[in-house]
Symmetry: C2
Subunit: 138 residues, 2 copies
């Protein structure tokens, strides 16, 4: 028997921009990454997408807030299904800037931050690059 | 009624090195990150921890393989429970090197890579830095 999908098993396929945006909008937790002299830092965050950017609430003096000075940051989201050794991931990269007070767009449903405490700063990462991959089940 | 744990809700607590190692050993999928001129890259990978390093199988000409030339890479793992707005994450950072053939330790249960194809290279990330945090439920 020839299974037409047999060659697809375990294959990595690129996601379209539209698929990436749909997955971004369907999730609210990802991992923000930045580069330091001591290597990359990756930490889970809550986010919201609004138009051409993702927005992350943070405290005024967080490491993330300090990074958002025009350098390029990344946000990664994924979903892994270990039972069939498959999953997908989406990576956003772009210029990051700090916003607070009136600088935050009025129509932004301000991203909730799960940790307790004040989060008056919103980091905006422009979606300059968007890519994603799906690993088909074996 | 005074709830003694009321102040702990939504608090971020640091994990001990032992807790981080236990979580690393209990999982097999994380996200490897590296820095490029165009910003950080973060992609899901399978890994195995052996002693003072984490090991990731990859293809010979992958972007990850090219990165593993003595620079510092990161591996992040996490578990998020959206129903109670909590979770934990662990970050490993360290010097990364490519190994293949006889350079791979005999006692390494070679990490399986879910994607189809050949994965003759094993990237070793030394655990030079290990940190983790747990976000307590609100």
């Amino acid at each position: 028997m020839n299974d037409p999908d047999i060659d697809a098993r375990g294959r990595l396929v690129e996601l379209s921009t539209e698929e990436c945006l749909t997955l971004l909008d369907a999730s609210a937790v990802g991992r923000v990454a930045w580069c330091t002299r001591e290597g990359p830092v990756v930490v889970p965050v809550n986010y919201v997408r609004l138009e051409d950017a993702v927005w992350i609430s943070t405290s005024a003096y967080s490491a993330l807030s300090r990074q958002a000075d025009g350098t390029t940051l990344a946000l990664e989201i994924d979903e892994i299904d270990a039972s069939v050794s498959s999953g997908w991931s989406v990576l956003v990269r772009g210029r990051a800037e700090r916003h607070s007070g009136d600088q935050v767009p009025a129509d932004l449903a301000r991203p909730l931050a799960w940790p307790a405490g004040q989060h008056p700063v919103v980091v905006r990462i422009e979606v300059n690059e968007l890519s994603g991959r799906r690993l088909l089940p074996r």
